[in-house]
Symmetry: D2
Subunit: 133 residues, 4 copies
């Protein structure tokens, strides 16, 4: 299993009138986590497409466990997992970077499609990525 951690700040545009981040922002942050994990693994998200694999999102699950205010420094850990033969699951966990509490966690499930839009089994280079420590 590969995983990656990076930090980011809550933008003003991501707050709502409850003074915390608006719920859908979690899914936007999860996407940033997938992007940064892919880069850290050596195969950028864009590169997946160049190699003929698309990963459309088919499920998303988010659990909201704490608050985060404008400009709070957050830390997100993202990991990638095999889900059956033609799917991939990313898991994300977001906490306050200063250790003061959990913010949100969840997962997204993606189909693995070839250039013809049909499900494909993971090619060798993907299997290798998924088996990396």
């Amino acid at each position: 299993m590969s995983s990656h951690t990076h930090q980011f700040r809550v933008r003003y545009s991501e707050t709502d009138q409850m003074q915390t981040f608006y719920n859908s922002r979690a899914l936007e942050w999860f996407e940033v986590g997938r992007t940064e994990l892919s880069r850290a693994m050596g195969v950028s998200y864009a590169e997946w497409e160049h190699r003929g694999i698309r990963l459309p999102l088919i499920e998303a699950h988010v659990y909201f466990t704490g608050r985060a205010k404008y400009d709070d420094l957050l830390e997100m850990t993202t990991s990638i997992h095999r889900e059956g033969r033609a799917r991939i699951r990313f898991e994300n966990r977001i906490v306050q970077a200063d250790g003061s509490g959990d913010v949100a966690h969840g997962s997204t499930v993606h189909a693995m499609l070839g250039t013809d839009g049909r499900p494909v089994r993971a090619p060798d280079w993907v299997v290798e990525l998924l088996n990396k420590e």
Copy 2:
């Protein structure tokens, strides 16, 4: 169970480079569904707060089942359900208004908190709303 259906169009700002709506928009649309259902039930979302009940979102689940392009006319049905004693669940289903296909469905789970931020049991007027046909 109360439910409500309304129509809306995909905004240009909601598309992404895959030519379909970006995934997090589904959660923004679900929120519009809760707002419109509340209005249709006779108690606006803002009114819930005036009556001392807050409904923070604690879980969100989305299943992406089809595409929707810029300016597509979509139809969303939202229903409200009791979930245990101090929680409420909203379910949303979005389809192409012309009947050409499913787009997304899912649910959000909300705590029911009083003005002191503590879980409360549903007051009578909420029970009544939940039992409405």
Copy 3:
């Protein structure tokens, strides 16, 4: 000059921690105004592209003149104007639908490009649209 007015509500996702709409939402609303004006004029925005004209945005100007809270019903008027030979300008004005005050107004300037990405003069059907009462 053609113009079009339509109503919409402020979404919860569009608020920020100041309890009013976040500033960038005005540009998203302006886009909805352009879409609805185009539809009202009989040539949908998507149809412009089918006819070989693209309208990339090159300038945007917004003046924030009042507040708007979650679920407020707003009314936006959008008009279209010629700007020199190969440009179009849309103007938008947003007010509270109940007449209680101004919210924002502004304009966007768009290049008029052909399928080859080069500036084009307005074809006859565009001139006709622009001259409509």
Copy 4:
């Protein structure tokens, strides 16, 4: 005049169906620029409010001068300027970090209000910030 430069990447959620960033994202990025400039100047945006100064946005202007794709590394320079006696103007310029081209530039004008919501003249610590090299 104080200015600050920082780098960031285009998020997938910020793209639209034209494969470039959606126009309103520029205003969200400008806000990040104001936040980072404030931090670099030693007085966080939140701190302004604690010291009794609010800076509501009253005008925004954006010029779109180039494209930026998903995951492009961009560089934004933000500077702060006095605008008359009770206003502040921030200017932002965004370019491709690899020097390959301009992306967007613009400015936002902010009122300077006291805790009572009325315009105030810049207090000494603000004047000092504005005069910093």
